[in-house]
């Protein structure tokens, strides 16, 4: 059928016939919509003399349009084993990803590889990964405060003044140093990252994080140089999805533990013991 799924005792995720993630099934048997894809924004270009002519650059995220798709289908390789199950996705020749579920972890790991971002068309690009679920979060999402408490964000809103957003995408972006989450009273989706990124929820059920940028114009805020990064970037996102039904530990507690484990991961040390038997070495 060309439709595959990977999972463990806690949940499984399914992929559609085009290779995109499209569902998650929990251990109680419930199935929920959950998709993921990469997009990019094209950076605005201007002479920086007035606000409306500001270029997207090192300090400024200023897309000139809505997002662009990077692929309409994904090449997929599926690997299943007793310890880990993986789906290797190739979106195009500069974006690929491994979606991974370990036997004993209750989260999904996304290891993405993006770049070098092509600029042959002379257009700067800012690449985002976007997760879309069936959660009705009513414009509300949460981002962490430098790894500490989660702060409530409301789309197109500020608490202390009446907001008229001139830039509805960038104006709703917030810093995400550890975690971004949405919930609707029944379910909660959170994405944890391995480095600081910008993120938002631009529509109900969706979370997006910017993973890489390559821009060709300076934004006149002091760097005096375009943010023209030529290298590929590899990183990880951790997805937790669950019901808010009073289970212990709660979703927030699971996120908190996972945050500590991912931001202070075990250190690996390697020793060459070629010349010794194990017992002697020990």
């Amino acid at each position: 059928s060309n439709i595959v799924s990977i999972g463990n005792k806690y949940f499984s995720v399914g992929f559609d016939s085009k290779g995109f993630l499209n569902s998650i099934s929990l251990e109680d048997g419930s199935e929920h919509k959950l998709s993921q894809n990469f997009f990019y924004y094209e950076g605005a270009i201007g002479d920086n003399r007035v606000f409306k002519n500001r270029s997207s650059g090192a300090y400024i995220f200023r897309p000139n349009s809505t997002e662009r798709f990077v692929a309409d289908h994904v090449n997929v390789k599926v690997i299943k084993g007793p310890i880990v199950e993986e789906v290797h996705q190739t979106f195009n020749n500069w974006i690929s990803q491994v979606i991974r579920i370990y036997r004993d972890y209750n989260y999904v790991e996304f290891e993405w590889l993006v770049g070098p971002i092509p600029v042959d068309d002379k257009i700067g690009k800012e690449v985002v990964t976007r997760f879309v679920s069936d959660i009705q979060n009513s414009n509300v999402f949460y981002t962490d405060s430098n790894g500490r408490e989660m702060i409530k964000r409301v789309r197109n809103h500020r608490d202390t003044w009446n907001l008229q957003l001139q830039e509805e995408i960038a104006g709703n972006y917030y810093p995400v140093t550890a975690n971004i989450a949405i919930e609707d009273g029944q379910k909660r989706l959170s994405i944890m990252n391995d480095r600081s990124q910008g993120g938002s929820s631009l529509q109900d059920g969706a979370i997006e994080l910017m993973v890489h940028r390559r821009l060709l114009h300076d934004d006149a805020f002091g760097v005096d140089e375009a943010l023209n990064f030529t290298h590929p970037i590899r990183g990880k996102h951790y997805l937790l999805f669950g019901k808010l039904d009073g289970n212990v530990p709660s979703m927030e507690a699971r996120e908190r533990f996972l945050q500590a484990e991912k931001l202070l991961p075990p250190w690996l040390f390697f020793s060459d013991v070629s010349s010794y038997d194990y017992e002697d070495w020990r």
Binding site: A58, Y59, K77, I79, G81, P82, I83, V84, E86, H88, T90, S96, V98, Y102, R103, D104, Y105, L113, S196, V223, E225, L227, N228, F229, T230, P232, R234, F257, A260, E261, L264, P265, P266, W267, L268, F269, F270, S271, D272, V273, S274, S275, Y276, Y278, E279, D280, W281, R282
Partner: protein, 219 residues
């Protein structure tokens, strides 16, 4: 202390907001990388000393730790110049490690910096032309899985990337402590033990005595 101070100073430099957010010029970012690399290598020397002393304490609690590990190992192997080296692999993020890809036998020591017990899946770059046996510090076989690395990742460092990773579960890593795993590579089909799952057992470090918590709560 000199190395630790140097590392601290570099970490101070890298608190600059351009270093944190990636808004610096590319050659500045590369200089940040050079600085943190130099500091990391210098400090890894100190880390080796610390780990040597930790190992010595675990080896024999009654004797002074400073030279006990080296002395014990010398007696065991009969080789007076035994060196006790721990190395970090700074290219693990592109699935590359010189020791694990090229040595017939190597040890992976997993250090848990958290104040509570954790379990963690370990991924080690290996050469796909071989099969591997993984045992813990009591010679108990550990179930493992070989898995291919995507070609886009191996292309990042084609001179070094192995193309495969060995995955196994490190259980019950003690708080602010470590466990070591012994890995031997063998020609395919030469393994005596089939790759089957064995029952999980909770293994306590030798240094734990009976009046200490026997089984930290799992997260």
């Amino acid at each position: 202390r000199v190395h630790l101070d140097y590392f601290s100073e570099v970490m101070g430099v890298l608190q600059h907001h351009d270093a944190i957010t990636g808004t610096s010029k590319e050659h500045v970012t590369q200089d940040y990388t050079v600085q943190i690399y130099a500091a990391f290598k210098a400090c890894s020397y100190s880390a080796k000393i610390i780990l040597n002393q930790l190992t010595a304490r675990q080896t024999n609690k009654d004797k002074p730790p400073e030279s006990e590990a080296a002395r014990y190992l010398d007696q065991a192997t009969g080789q007076p110049n035994f060196t006790f080296e721990f190395d970090t692999c700074l290219l693990l993020n592109v699935s590359s490690c010189e020791i694990s890809e090229t040595r017939d036998k190597f040890m992976v020591t997993v250090y848990n910096a958290l104040a509570h017990s954790v379990f963690s899946y370990v991924r080690v770059p290996v050469d796909g032309k071989y099969d591997y046996e993984v045992t813990d510090y009591r010679s108990v076989p550990i179930p493992h899985q070989m898995i291919s690395v995507p070609p886009q990742v191996t292309a990042l460092d084609p001179a070094k990337s192995a193309g495969y990773e060995l995955v196994f579960l490190a259980t019950e890593l003690p708080p602010i402590g470590y466990k070591s795993f012994f890995i031997v590579r063998k020609p395919v089909k030469a393994l005596n033990t089939p790759r089957v799952l064995v029952p999980e057992v909770v293994l306590l470090p030798n240094s734990m005595s009976s009046d200490e918590p026997q089984k930290p709560p799992r997260n």
